[in-house]
């Protein structure tokens, strides 16, 4: 993966597969340059046993193959920058995964095109769950949610409508740039 945003696109699928109704995504950049990406869902959660093993590339819940590289690759890239990944989960409640990146490190990935990632995430799961994105940095804060968009669109127009997806991508780009612009490329 060449962008933190691509890791997000990848691991969000875990929340969708876990049957979440709400997935809350955060990008928080603190004044010291530490970026925390958090994905919090209310899906089915993981048992303590699974939680302990889930960072292994040889652990996956899918049945077609025996490898799962989403979390291991994320952890590798977070650690390369001097950060790391923390996981909290409870069966029946949901899961919180947080990846910390030290953006001052030369080995830190750029955040990348977060707007494109959100558009793609929504296109992949347009009906359920509801997604929200919050970005904060010393420069300010912005939030976005699919619930908000759905409220405007009403029941007839789906989020998958090409012009809606384009609007989501373009308006998010404008919103995110002033907040995380310095570490996006």
């Amino acid at each position: 993966m060449k962008e933190i945003a691509l890791h997000l696109l990848d691991i969000v699928q875990n929340s969708v597969t876990a049957g979440a109704s709400h997935v809350d995504i955060r990008f928080d950049l603190d004044p010291d340059g530490v970026l925390t990406m958090a994905v919090k869902d209310d899906g089915k959660g993981m048992s303590p046993e699974l939680l302990e093993r889930v960072r292994s590339p040889f652990v996956t819940t899918r049945t077609t193959r025996k490898v799962g590289l989403g979390i291991p690759l994320l952890q590798q890239n977070a650690m390369l920058s001097g950060g790391g990944v923390t996981l909290e989960s409870e069966v029946g409640k949901g899961t919180l995964i947080q990846a910390r990146f030290n953006t001052a490190s030369i080995d830190c990935l750029p955040v990348g095109d977060l707007a494109q990632t959100m558009a793609t995430i929504i296109l992949g799961s347009p009906e359920k769950p509801e997604f929200s994105l919050t970005c904060t940095s010393p420069a300010g804060e912005t939030t976005f949610s699919t619930e908000e968009v759905r409220a405007v669109l009403g029941p007839e127009v789906p989020l998958t409508e090409p012009s809606v997806i384009q609007w989501i991508g373009e308006s998010l780009k404008e919103e995110i740039e002033p907040i995380l612009g310095g570490i996006m490329r």
Partner: protein, 125 residues
């Protein structure tokens, strides 16, 4: 969000087109993009959005774009299936955003698959 008014305009513009569409649902062409870890790492995200852009540009109302997981041929990612009702599924491999315009124009609009981009052509090499 600064432009919710813009979104409201989109809603008004699309709502009529949507009502027309549901009447003839069975001729919908499906575009399916592989979006597992392998597909994403190989560059599936811009491919998927390139399809959306092209569909919006041409105002194609009978095409849906969706995602699928890893189908076990990670070395050929990004992969895209184009499924035209009544025809055999066509699988494109190593798809880049620059190839999307041609796939939409020649295959989706004009019904002629782009042979040189397909899995059959790639596996012959």
């Amino acid at each position: 969000m600064k432009s919710l008014a813009e979104l409201e305009a989109i809603r008004k513009a699309t709502i009529n087109r949507i009502n027309l569409r549901t009447e003839k649902d069975n001729d919908t062409i499906r575009v399916v993009v592989g979006m597992a870890t392998c597909g994403i790492a190989a560059g599936a995200r811009p491919v998927m959005l390139a399809f959306m852009d092209e569909i919006a540009k041409r105002q194609l109302s009978n095409v849906t774009v969706s995602q699928t997981g890893c189908i076990g041929m990670c070395r050929l990612e990004p992969m895209v299936d184009v499924i035209v009702p009544g025809k055999e599924k066509v699988t494109y491999v190593h798809v880049h955003p620059e190839m999307v315009g041609r796939i939409v124009a020649e295959h989706i609009v004009n019904g002629r698959p782009v042979a040189e981009y397909t899995i059959g052509a790639a596996e012959k090499e």
